[in-house]
């Protein structure tokens, strides 16, 4: 009876520990990242100075990421505290950013590209439709939109593995980033993401 009690306690402890860990690293790459508005950045990706939670975050959601001198990654999983949902439409607006090249990609909650018939997963600094002043707009929606549009939909992973509040997220990659992204990543220029409407 005593042994059974200890076994149940050990099992519960392990289950709860897994749940704690998944919440910590799944929420927004954990409490281990810097915020730039709604964007989060983990400056220790791939680095030997990363702590245990940061390494765990990278292992689950950014394996084989480069160190910050090579590239920085900003991730947005919620807008004004509301997790990104498939039944809502979003608008990304921006200009240009100090990097060799940059891109914005949508990923499902399973950290892989979202299947869509258009095979449109991202836009980069060269294939965006820009206004004369260099500004641009991307629509993110499950419903077809005019102009630059990233289609979203169900992720390819099995639903029982979903442990995040958001259905998908957006990742801003900046390769060979300028000094602002290396020294003041929490205030460096990044695109704006706004919630337009939900169905």
């Amino acid at each position: 009876m005593k042994l059974l009690r200890w076994l149940i306690a050990a099992l519960l402890t392990l289950t709860l520990a897994v749940a704690f860990l998944l919440r910590s690293v799944g929420a927004n790459l954990g409490a281990t990242s810097l915020q730039n508005g709604d964007w989060a950045i983990n400056m220790s990706v791939g680095s030997a100075d990363a702590n245990a939670l940061q390494r765990a975050s990278v292992a689950l959601g950014g394996l084989l990421g480069s160190t910050r001198e090579n590239s920085v990654y900003y991730r947005i999983a919620s807008v004004d505290g509301e997790p990104l949902r498939l039944n809502c439409d979003y608008r990304i607006e921006g200009g240009d950013y100090d990097a060799n090249w940059w891109s914005i990609t949508a990923y499902g909650w399973d950290n892989y590209l979202i299947p869509n018939p258009q095979k449109r997963y991202s836009y980069n600094n060269e294939n965006l439709a820009r206004d004369s002043d260099g500004s641009w707009v991307i629509s993110v929606s499950a419903q077809e939109k005019s102009g630059d549009w990233i289609p979203i939909g169900p992720s390819g992973g099995p639903p029982w593995r979903k442990f995040t509040d958001n259905d998908f997220d957006l990742l801003l990659r900046l390769y060979t980033p300028g000094v602002a992204y290396l020294e003041t990543p929490a205030s460096a220029p990044v695109p704006t993401v706004t919630l337009e409407a939900c169905r």
């Binding site: 306690a9 402890t13 897994v18 390494r55 950014g62 892989y112 590209l113």
Partner: protein, 178 residues
């Protein structure tokens, strides 16, 4: 009655505190576990000490999380237990990098064609990887030491715009025993 309620509370408190601390132990074990899984599955599909090139990234690309459709990738699962490996890779003009990852996910070494390394553009990178304590045979290129006997080498090249040069560079690259 009061004693058993107190005992239950003690158990619950023990479980919660143990789980809170346990998440850090799990976090420490997770990177090696995930890399090990990637290595085992990847090397079964692609082989060891050989380069596998993927020139199209889409929703079916599920070997490594968060692949970029704007990059071309080539991956080599290396094992230095039998000796060093060499990587040969032509360097294109647009963004390109060659990165080594040890089994705890750290990006321990790499080269690019960016910033002060732009001089590499148009040349062919020759890199030898040896394990800690292994003597490097005579080699004309750069030599890096891997902290772990096994690991992953990842080549990235820009797929933006006209990517013909990047594609040709990736196709002409190799990873093989020295």
């Amino acid at each position: 009655m009061k004693t058993s309620a107190l005992s239950l509370l003690k158990w619950i408190a023990g479980i919660v505190v143990g789980a809170w601390l346990g998440q850090y132990l799990l976090a420490m074990a997770l990177p090696s576990l995930v890399m090990q899984t990637l290595y085992n599955v990847g090397s079964q599909d692609s082989g060891v000490n050989t380069l596998t090139t993927r020139l199209e990234t889409d929703a079916t690309s599920r070997q490594v999380v968060r692949p970029s459709p704007d990059l071309l990738y080539a991956i080599c699962f290396y094992d230095l237990s039998e000796g060093p490996i060499t990587v040969t890779a032509p360097v294109p003009a647009r963004y390109w990098s060659l990165q080594f990852y040890q089994m705890n996910t750290d990006n321990f070494a790499g080269i690019t064609n960016q910033r002060e390394q732009a001089y590499r553009i148009g040349s062919t990178a020759e890199v030898m990887l040896v394990s800690d304590g292994q003597n490097a045979p005579e080699f004309a290129g750069e030599v890096f030491t891997s902290p772990t006997t096994r690991g992953v080498m990842l080549l990235r090249a820009s797929a933006i715009g006209d990517s013909l040069e990047s594609r040709q560079a990736m196709a002409a690259s190799s990873c093989r025993p020295a």
